[in-house]
C-alpha cells in the first residue's frame, strides 16, 4: 500500500503554522488572536504525530496528549483573562489596551 509521504504532512504543518502566526499579528480581536494560537499549537501537533507514525515511536503521541491538556488549561485561563479585561476596559481589542506598551 502506498502511503502519503511524510514530507506532505510536514509542509502542510508549516503552512498552517504560518497562517496561525499571520493571524496573531494582523488581528486586533483578543479572541481571534487566541484562536490563532490554538491553530499554531495544532500545526505542531500534526508534525509530532507525523514523525511518531513514520518513526514508530509512541513518544510523539504522548507529547500531543500533553499539549492538548496544556491547551485546555490555557483556554480556561486565557478566556478568564479576556473576561476580566472586558470587565475593566469594556474592550477586547488589543490596540485599545496599551497601558503596558512601550
Amino acid at each position: 500500500m502506498k502511503t502519503v509521504p511524510l514530507e506532505y504532512f510536514l509542509l502542510l504543518s508549516a503552512v498552517l503554522f504560518f497562517i496561525g502566526m499571520v493571524g496573531v499579528i494582523i488581528r486586533r480581536n483578543a479572541i481571534v488572536i487566541f484562536m490563532s494560537i490554538e491553530m499554531m499549537l495544532n500545526a505542531v501537533n500534526l508534525t509530532l504525530i507525523g514523525f511518531s507514525a513514520y518513526l514508530g515511536d509512541i513518544s510523539g503521541q504522548i507529547l500531543v496528549l500533553f499539549v492538548m491538556a496544556v491547551a485546555a488549561a490555557e483556554a480556561a485561563v486565557g478566556l478568564a483573562i479576556i473576561l476580566a479585561l472586558f470587565r475593566t476596559r469594556q474592550t477586547v481589542y488589543f490596540d485599545e489596551v496599551r497601558l503596558l506598551r512601550w
Binding site: F18, I19, V32
Partner: protein
C-alpha cells in the same frame, strides 16, 4: 496518484481554507465556526497517520470543549460589531506577511533540502495509535508528567475562577486596583 493521496490533498485544502477563513472573517462567531471545521479536518489527518485515539481526542477536546468555551465567551461579551469598525491601513499586516513568508520559505527549504529517510510508515504505526499502547506508556514511563498535568489543570481551574470572579478581593491590593474597583462600582451604580 493513489486514492489515499487524492483524499489527503482534499482534506489538506479544507484545512488550509478553513484556517485562512478563520483569520480573515471579521465576525468572531464565523471565525470560531471555521476553526471547528479546521479542527475536524486535522482529526481526519490524524487518522491518515493511524493515530485513532488522538483523532477522537481532537474532536472531543478541541472541537468540543475548547471551541464551546470560546463561542460562549464571544456570545457572553456580545462581540459582533467588528464589521462596523472603520477599516484602516495596517502596516503591520504587510510586515506580518513578509516575515511570516520568510519563515515559511525557511521551513519549506529546510524540509525539502534533504530527503527524509523514512519513505514508508513504520510497520508498527497501527499498533502505537491504539488506546492500550498509549495508556501503557502514559502510566509507566510518563507517569510523573501525567500527574504534573493533573496538578496543572487543577491550578488552571482555580485560576480561571479567581480571574473571572465579579470582584477581585486582594488583601493589600495596590492603590491602582482599588481605584479601578471604585470606578467599576460607580459605573455599575
Amino acid at each position: 496518484m493513489s486514492g489515499e493521496l487524492i483524499l489527503f490533498v482534499l482534506i489538506a485544502i479544507l484545512a488550509i481554507g478553513s484556517a485562512v477563513a478563520t483569520i480573515t472573517r471579521r465576525n468572531p462567531v464565523a471565525a470560531a465556526l471555521f476553526l471547528v471545521l479546521h479542527f475536524a479536518s486535522l482529526a481526519a489527518l490524524y487518522l491518515f497517520l493511524s493515530a485513532q485515539v488522538l483523532a477522537v481526542l481532537q474532536i472531543l477536546v478541541y472541537a468540543g470543549a475548547i471551541m464551546v468555551l470560546i463561542l460562549f465567551v464571544i456570545m457572553l461579551l456580545n462581540l459582533g460589531k467588528e464589521e462596523q469598525l472603520a477599516e484602516r491601513f495596517q502596516p503591520r499586516a504587510i510586515f506580518a506577511l513578509i516575515f511570516g513568508g520568510l519563515l515559511l520559505l525557511f521551513l519549506v527549504v529546510a524540509l525539502t533540502a534533504v530527503p527524509i529517510a523514512y519513505p514508508e510508515m513504520a510497520a508498527k504505526a497501527a499498533e502505537i495509535g491504539t488506546i492500550g499502547a498509549l495508556a501503557r506508556e502514559l502510566f509507566t514511563t510518563y507517569l510523573f508528567p501525567f500527574e504534573a498535568v493533573s496538578l496543572l489543570l487543577l491550578v488552571a481551574v482555580v485560576g480561571a475562577i479567581v480571574l473571572a470572579k465579579k470582584k477581585l478581593e486582594i488583601p493589600g491590593a495596590s492603590v491602582e486596583t482599588k481605584v479601578i474597583q471604585k470606578r467599576e462600582e460607580q459605573a455599575v451604580g
